[in-house]
């Protein structure tokens, strides 16, 4: 499912089939958007970054056949697109998350506090949490996306959670 040899989704993307792009968007579009939103803190920028990922896929064409892990490839492409978007728009990565990206209702004060603490984390910590929680990647996939070892990905995630816990006053019970 994630791009083994003979993966029909990957083959469909490489062949430029519309149905394959639609299937990929249905499967990973929301996760890509959430990670982009965590990185960029802005709905319009996040949507632009997701769009850029799909444009890149469409332009890659037959070269996609060489991709081993489609999800890792997608999120690595998203990081690149997000960096380009941020550079283009001079986005402030520390911009308070809830001010520009409202979570769906119902939102409790605890939800808002959690989002605010999350948005205040350093970008690399916020990124690893988004990749793990919001997109459901494994540590092996996160490692491939970030270009680090799986052990480093796991420890970075653990540190990120610990920092978030400390930001919330030392408890997860927010």
């Amino acid at each position: 499912m994630d791009g083994p040899p003979g993966d029909p989704l990957l083959a469909g993307l490489a062949a430029g089939r519309d149905a394959a792009f639609a299937e990929l968007y249905d499967r990973d579009g929301a996760a890509l958007f959430r990670v982009a939103a965590a990185l960029l803190g802005c709905r319009a920028d996040a949507e632009d970054a997701v769009q850029e990922v799909f444009v890149g896929l469409a332009q890659a064409g037959a070269a996609l056949a060489a991709v081993e892990n489609l999800r890792a490839y997608l999120f690595a492409a998203l990081r690149h697109a997000a960096a380009k978007t941020a550079a283009r728009r001079h986005a402030d990565r520390r911009r308070p998350f809830p001010d520009v990206l409202a979570a769906p209702e119902p939102r409790t004060p605890a939800d808002e506090r959690l989002e605010r603490a999350l948005a205040a984390l350093p970008a690399d910590r916020r990124e690893v949490i988004a990749l793990k929680i919001d997109s459901g990647l494994t540590f092996r996939e996160i490692a491939a996306v970030l270009g680090i070892s799986p052990n480093t990905a796991a420890s970075r995630y653990r540190y990120a959670l610990a920092e978030l816990r400390d930001a919330l006053g030392g408890t997860a019970d927010v």
């Binding site: 968007y25 579009g29 949507e47 769009q51 799909f54 444009v55 332009q59 979570a103 997860a172 927010v174």
Partner: protein, 137 residues
């Protein structure tokens, strides 16, 4: 790393994060993304860039160089022998055109004319080889 590998408070925070209401893309993003991806797949007309012009110039230079090499290496060979009857016929035509020429000059001109007509250009691929016995150059 699963929940069980995290300390209890971090595992609880992980569950809290997973359960929180999360932002979702706008409903228009999917169609927009798919439309743009579809457009991106279409082959675009390639504008002639400086690379195209450089490639063309290189090809022209290679062509000129090659043709000069061929021209420089071209030799002329007799492809067939000269029939005596042809020389006589040519001499007769020359005599009609220039009756003031002596017979000896007419024969010489006829020989030269027939020899020139039988020549054909040939590329010598190895101009430094030793001439062979049958080589009529």
């Amino acid at each position: 790393m699963s929940d069980s590998e995290l300390p209890a408070d971090l595992a609880a925070l992980e569950r809290r994060l997973a359960d929180r209401p999360r932002v979702a893309p706008s409903t228009g993003l999917g169609p927009r993304v798919l439309d743009v991806a579809r457009l991106a797949q279409r082959p675009r007309p390639v504008a002639a860039s400086w690379r195209s012009w450089a490639a063309l110039a290189a090809a022209v230079l290679v062509g000129i160089n090659l043709s000069m090499s061929v021209a420089g290496s071209a030799d002329w060979r007799l492809t067939a022998g000269i029939e005596p009857g042809q020389i006589d016929a040519t001499a007769d035509r020359l005599r009609a055109a220039a009756p003031e020429l002596p017979e000896r000059e007419l024969r010489r001109q006829a020989l030269l004319y027939r020899a020139g007509a039988g020549l054909t250009p040939t590329v010598d691929l190895n101009p430094y080889r030793e001439p062979e016995r049958w080589d009529v150059r």
